[in-house]
C-alpha cells in the first residue's frame, strides 16, 4: 500500500494539547540528522517552552540506528517520555519497531518517496507521508546535499505540524550557517520544501503543538560536559590531563576551547617592532592512558596547581592505584566521571549510574573518597567549582559523578551566575613566612577541627621539604611499620573523610503533608522522580523526596530513611549501589530501603518510577 497523504484515525483531534507532547525521531547515524533535531529542540526553547532532547545513539560513527527524543512540557516535566505522540521514521532498519512505539492516536511521519510496507501500518495511528528523498533529489544536485537536506526537510514539515515560529527557525539557521552562505541557502530551501508540503497536504498544526511561553527567559540550553568545563575554567584550574573516552571527551574539548578563548594572555614582544605574542595560562596534557592522566593531576596538584581529569568508568578502573596513593598521601585531585554503561566496555554511548561504589572506594586497602552527584548541567557548573575547593580543603581526590545523559544531552537549566567576590579555598598550604614562624614542619601533624594537616608545595623553603610516600608512614611523614603509628594516620584520614560531609552540597529534600513514603535518589534521576512524585500524589500516594548530592552522607540521609514507613531508593544501576552505600555508611538497615533500579542504558522515565512504587505497594499493601 502506498500512501502520501495523511489518513487520520477518528477522534484524534478531540482535545488540543498545547506544549505537552513527545516526539521521537528515528535516524541512521552519520547522515546529518543531529543538526535538524537540535534545530527543532532549540527553536522550542527559544519560544520559551520547557523542552528536553535526548540523544539515544549507538557506539558507531556511521550507519547504525540512532534516535532523538524531544519532550515538550510547559510544567517542566522533561524527563524521558515513553509515550510518543509523533514518530519521525527515517530509518528503514527500525521502522517496524519504531512504529509500534507510537501512542494510540499519534502520528508517524515517514518518507513516502517509496511505498511503506502494508504490514507496518497501524489502524490506530496516523501516517503522514512526505516524499523527502524525492523532493531533495529534484531540488538539490550534489549527492551529499540530497542526503543531508532530507533531515532539514522533515524539520520543515514539523515546523508546520507543531506550529513552530518560522522567524525563530530562520534566525537559528542564519546563526548556524553564518559563515557558509551556500549551506544556509540550501537549508532554507530544504526547510521550505518540508514546510510547504506539510501545509498543503496536512491539517496544520496538529492537535498537539507549541505555543510561545515565557518559561525559559532566564534559562540556557547547555550540556553537562560544557557546563563542567566552564566550572573548571572559573575554579581556576590550570593543568588538565586526560585520555579520550566516550562520553567524557567533550568535557576536555570544551575546556580546551574555553581556555583558548579566555586564558590566552597577550605578551609584549621581546624585540621592539616584532609582533606581539600570546601565552597560554593553562596546560592540557593528552596522556598515554588514564593512569598517566591521574598521575599528572597528582603531580600538578602536589605542586600547587588546580588540576583535574575527565573520564568514564573504564578510566576510573585504571586510575585506582594512584587514587589510593592520593588518598593516603593527601593530595588534592578532581576527577569527573561521566558515567556510561558497564561492566567492562559495556555500552559506551548509553547512560548509567553504576560507578558509585567504584568511586566511593576506588583503590586497594581502606580508602574512601568524596563524591559529588550533580543532577543537571547547572549543578555540573556549580559542583565543578565546589570540587576544587573541597579537594584542596580536604587534600584528597574528589569525584564529580555526572553521566552520559547529563554530560552529552542539552538541558534547559537556569542561567549560570558568578559572584565576582568569590575567593577559592586553597586549603591549608604553608608559605615560607608561615614556615618561618613554626619550630619544625611535619607533614601530618597540627590537624585542625576537620582533621586536615597543613601541607607545603615544592619550591617552598627547605624547612617545609618532606617526602611523600605511599608506603606506611607516621604523622611525621616518616616511614613506619609500627602498628600504632600507622593506625594513627589512617584513623585521622577516616575522621577527615567524615568531616567533609558538611562541606558538600546538602541533600535536597521536598516534604509533603502526611507522607509515609519516601523516595531517595541522586543525579540525573531527579526530574523523573519529581514527576513521579507528582503523579503518585494524583493517585493518592504522598511521597517525600530526598536527593543526595554528596558522599560522605550527612545525618539527614539516615534520618530520612528511618522516618519513612516505605523508603524507595531510585537509581540507574543493577545492584542498588546508592542503597548499599547508604546502608554501609549510615548503618541504617538495608531492608529499610526498597530498590528501584533502572539500568538498560536509556535515561529514566517517571512512569518507570511510578510503576515500581505502585507495584511494590500492591504486593505489600
Amino acid at each position: 500500500m502506498t500512501t502520501t497523504v495523511s489518513h487520520r484515525t477518528e477522534g484524534a483531534t478531540s482535545h488540543q494539547r498545547v506544549n505537552d507532547f513527545a516526539l521521537k525521531l528515528a535516524n541512521v547515524n552519520g547522515t546529518g540528522s543531529a543538526s535538524a533535531n537540535s534545530l527543532l529542540m532549540q527553536a522550542i526553547f527559544r519560544m520559551g517552552v520547557p523542552v528536553s532532547g535526548k540523544n539515544l545513539f549507538p557506539s558507531n560513527i556511521q550507519g547504525l540506528p540512532t534516535w532523538y527524543e524531544i519532550r515538550v512540557n510547559q510544567s517542566g516535566y522533561t524527563a524521558r517520555a515513553l509515550d510518543y505522540d509523533l514518530m519521525v521514521a527515517m530509518n528503514s532498519q527500525t521502522y517496524a519497531e519504531d512504529i509500534t512505539e507510537v501512542a494510540t492516536g499519534g502520528y508517524v511521519l515517514y518518507d513516502s518517496s517509496w511505498p511503506l510496507d502494508a504490514s507496518l501500518l497501524r489502524d490506530d495511528v496516523n501516517f503522514l507521508g512526505v516524499p523527502l528523498a524525492k523532493m531533495c533529489l529534484e531540488n538539490f544536485t550534489s549527492s551529499r546535499e540530497r542526503v543531508l537536506m532530507k533531515n532539514i526537510a522533515y524539520a520543515g514539515a514539523l515546523v508546520a505540524l507543531l506550529d513552530l515560529d518560522l522567524d525563530v527557525i530562520a534566525t537559528l539557521l542564519t546563526e548556524s550557517y553564518a559563515r557558509n552562505e551556500k549551506l544556509l541557502a540550501s537549508n532554507q530551501k530544504a526547510l521550505r520544501l518540508g514546510y510547504d508540503y506539510a501545509r498543503e497536504n496536512f491539517e496544520c498544526p496538529l492537535e498537539f503543538r507549541v505555543a510561545p511561553l515565557q518559561a525559559t527567559t532566564h534559562s540556557i540550553l547547555i550540556d553537562g560536559n560544557t557546563a563542567s568545563a566552564l566550572g573548571c575554567l572559573y575554579a581556576g584550574a590550570t593543568v588538565a590531563a586526560w585520555y579520550p573516552i566516550t562520553p567524557a571527551t567533550a568535557l576536555m574539548d570544551n575546556f580546551a576551547a574555553l581556555c583558548a578563548r579566555y586564558r590566552r594572555e597577550p605578551v609584549d614582544a621581546l624585540v621592539p617592532g616584532a609582533p606581539n605574542s600570546t601565552q597560554n595560562n593553562y596546560l592540557i596534557l593528552q596522556a598515554e592512558d588514564e593512569i598517566a592522566a591521574i598521575g599528572m593531576v597528582l603531580g600538578a596538584s602536589w605542586s600547587g596547581a588546580r588540576s583535574f581529569t575527565s573520564t568514564s568508568g573504564p578510566g576510573i578502573s585504571l586510575m585506582s592505584e594512584l587514587l589510593g596513593l592520593a588518598y593516603y598521601t593527601e593530595i588534592p585531585a578532581v576527577i569527573f566521571d561521566v558515567q556510561r554503561t558497564g561492566p567492562s566496555t559495556g555500552m559506551p554511548t548509553r547512560t548509567q549510574q553504576a560507578d558509585i561504589l567504584l568511586c566511593a572506594y576506588a583503590s586497594h586497602g581502606d580508602t574512601k573518597h568524596i563524591l559529588l552527584f550533580p543532577a543537571n548541567p547547572h549543578e555540573c557548573f556549580e559542583f565543578a567549582v565546589t570540587s576544587f575547593d573541597v579537594a584542596e580543603r580536604f587534600q584528597t581526590p574528589v569525584f564529580v559523578l555526572s553521566d552520559l545523559d547529563i554530560g552529552m544531552n542539552d538541558w534547559v537549566v537556569p542561567e549560570l551566575t558568578w559572584d565576582d567576590d568569590f575567593v577559592p579555598d586553597r586549603g591549608r598550604v604553608l608559605d615560607d613566612q608561615q614556615l618561618s614562624a613554626i619550630a619544625e614542619f611535619f607533614r601530618y601533624t597540627n590537624e585542625d577541627d576537620q582533621f586536615v594537616t597543613p601541607r607545603t608545595v615544592p619550591g617552598s623553603d627547605s624547612k617545609g621539604a618532606y617526602f611523600i610516600r605511599g608506603s606506611g608512614h607516621d604523622k611525621f611523614g616518616k616511614y613506619t611499620e609500627v602498628p600504632a603509628q600507622y593506625q594513627e594516620v589512617v584513623d585521622r584520614l577516616k575522621k577527615k573523610h567524615a568531616a567533609a560531609a558538611g562541606a558538600l552540597p546538602a541533600p535536597i529534600e521536598v516534604r509533603r503533608d502526611g507522607a509515609r513514603v519516601g523516595i531517595v535518589t541522586l543525579g540525573s534521576c531527579d526530574l523523573a522522580v519529581r514527576e513521579a512524585i507528582d503523579d503518585l500524589a494524583e493517585r493518592g500516594i504522598a511521597a517525600d523526596y530526598l536527593r543526595v548530592r554528596g558522599f560522605p552522607f550527612v545525618e539527614s540521609v539516615r534520618r530520612f530513611v528511618e522516618e519513612h514507613d516505605e523508603c524507595f531508593v531510585v537509581e540507574q544501576n543493577r545492584d542498588g549501589q546508592l542503597r548499599s552505600l547508604i546502608a554501609i555508611e549510615t548503618e541504617v538497615a538495608i531492608e529499610k530501603m526498597i530498590p528501584v533500579l533502572h539500568y538498560g542504558g536509556f535515561p529514566l522515565s517517571a512512569s518507570q518510577v511510578v510503576d515500581a512504587v505502585t507495584s511494590h505497594r500492591r504486593v505489600r499493601p
Binding site: 540556557i220 560544557t226 586564558r263 596546560l283 598517566a292 599528572m296 600547587g304 615544592p458 621539604a465
Partner: protein, 351 residues
C-alpha cells in the same frame, strides 16, 4: 625500610659552594640498601653534582617509583621536595609537577623494572613530551626487592643467581629513547663517578628530558659469574670512547679552549658540554649514526658509555604549549577567572 638519620658530624674546613653550603647539605638519610650496592654510588654522584652546581636544595624536586633504586631519593638532598610514587608511575607525576611549576629542577630516579616493564609506556611518552627533567635509570638487570627475577634489561644468556639463563631479548633504554624522540641520552656506570658527574650536570643543564642509563650492579642478586650486569663484567666490557666535560657557563671564560679537536654543545642555560673524545665518524646529533654505533658495540658484547645522543634545539613540553615563564601554579586567580560579565556574555551562545 626505615632510614636512620645520618649523624651530622661537624667537619671544619669542608669546602663550600656558591650558596655557602657544604656537600653535607646535599646529603640525605642513611642508605638502607645492601653494602656495596651500585645505587649508593649513584646517590653520591647526584649529591656531588647538586653541590657543585650550587642548586638551591628547595628548588629541587626528587621523584621515584617503586624498587631499590626508587628508595634512593631519601638518601640525597634532604632539603629537596620528594615524591616516592607508585611502581612505574614516576614519569606521570613528574610530568604533572613540571607542568604546574617549571621553575624547579626535577630529578627522577627509577630502575629497570620500574622503567622498562611496568612503566615503559610512561617513560616512552615522557621522552616524546620532552618534559624538562633528569631521569636516572639505575639499571641492574634484576628485581632486587622481590629477590632476583630477571628484569627487561637482562641480556640473553645472562645467568641468574640460581643459574637460570635469560632467553628473552633485552630492552635497551637508549635504543628506546632514540626511537621515541628523546633529546638527551647517556649511559654510564655507577662505579665511575668521574664520568657520571659531568653527565649529570649536562643532564641538569639540558632543556628537556635527559635520560642517563646507569649500569648499577646489584651486589646481592646479580653480581655473580655469568651475569652481564656485574661489576666485573661491566668493567671488562665498558667502552669509553665518548668522553665529555661539563663547563658551567660562569666558568666558561676561564676555561682553556681546544676548539680544534673538541665538539662543543652550548646548553640552554649557557653552559657547555665539551666532547673530549669521540670515535672517528661519530656524531652525537645523528640519531641513525648513534643507533648503528650502539648496535655494533652491543653485538661485540661491549657496553658503550658516555653522552651518546643530544639534541639541544628541540622544544620542551612548556615551549610546545606556549606556557608562561612563571610557574602556572603561581598565576594569580584574577588572571584565571573570566568573571561574571564574561559568563553572562558567554551564555548568549547557549540561548
Amino acid at each position: 625500610m626505615s632510614s636512620p638519620t645520618k649523624p651530622l658530624i661537624p667537619l671544619a674546613g669542608l669546602p663550600t659552594n656558591e650558596l655557602g653550603l657544604t656537600v653535607r647539605d646535599y646529603e640525605g638519610a642513611m642508605s638502607t640498601l645492601c653494602a656495596g650496592c651500585g645505587h649508593d654510588s649513584v646517590t653520591a654522584a647526584i649529591t656531588q653534582t647538586f653541590f657543585e652546581l650550587s642548586t638551591p636544595p628547595h628548588m629541587i624536586a626528587k621523584l621515584s617509583g617503586i624498587g631499590c633504586s626508587s628508595k634512593t631519593p631519601t638518601y640525597f638532598v634532604r632539603g629537596a621536595h620528594g615524591f616516592n610514587s607508585a611502581h612505574g608511575r614516576m614519569a606521570t607525576i613528574a610530568t604533572g609537577a613540571n607542568a604546574a611549576n617549571r621553575e624547579l629542577t626535577y630529578v627522577g630516579i627509577s630502575g629497570d623494572g620500574d622503567s622498562l616493564s611496568i612503566g615503559i609506556g610512561h617513560l616512552s611518552h615522557l621522552m616524546r613530551r620532552n618534559v624538562n627533567m633528569v631521569y636516572v635509570l639505575e639499571n641492574n638487570g634484576v628485581y632486587g626487592l622481590t629477590k632476583g627475577q630477571f628484569s627487561a634489561s637482562a641480556d640473553i644468556g645472562s645467568r641468574s643467581k640460581r643459574g637460570v639463563s635469560n632467553v628473552i631479548a633485552p630492552i635497551d633504554p637508549i635504543m628506546l629513547g632514540l626511537s621515541m624522540g628523546a633529546t638527551f641520552l647517556a649511559r654510564s656506570f655507577s662505579g665511575d663517578k668521574a664520568q657520571l658527574i659531568p653527565l649529570l650536570k649536562a643532564a641538569v643543564a639540558h632543556q628537556g628530558m635527559a635520560l642517563i642509563d646507569v649500569i648499577s650492579p646489584c651486589v646481592t642478586f646479580n653480581d655473580h659469574e655469568g651475569s652481564t650486569k656485574s661489576y666485573r663484567f661491566t668493567r671488562e666490557h665498558e667502552v669509553k670512547e665518548i668522553e665529555t666535560d661539563f663547563v658551567p657557563w660562569q666558568q666558561e671564560i676561564s676555561m682553556p679552549h681546544h676548539k680544534d679537536d673538541a665538539r662543543e654543545i652550548v646548553m640552554h642555560d649557557g653552559s657547555v658540554v665539551r666532547f673530549r673524545s669521540v670515535p672517528e665518524g661519530y656524531d652525537p646529533h645523528d640519531r641513525q649514526n648513534v643507533e648503528e654505533y650502539i648496535r655494533e658495540r652491543h653485538e661485540r658484547g661491549e657496553i658503550a658509555t658516555g653522552l651518546l645522543y643530544v639534541n639541544e634545539s628541540s622544544s620542551d613540553v612548556h615551549e610546545m604549549n606556549n606556557t608562561p615563564e612563571v610557574a602556572l601554579s603561581k598565576l594569580p586567580y584574577s588572571k584565571l577567572c573570566p568573571g561574571s560579565a564574561a559568563l553572562a556574555k558567554l551564555q548568549e551562545d547557549f540561548r
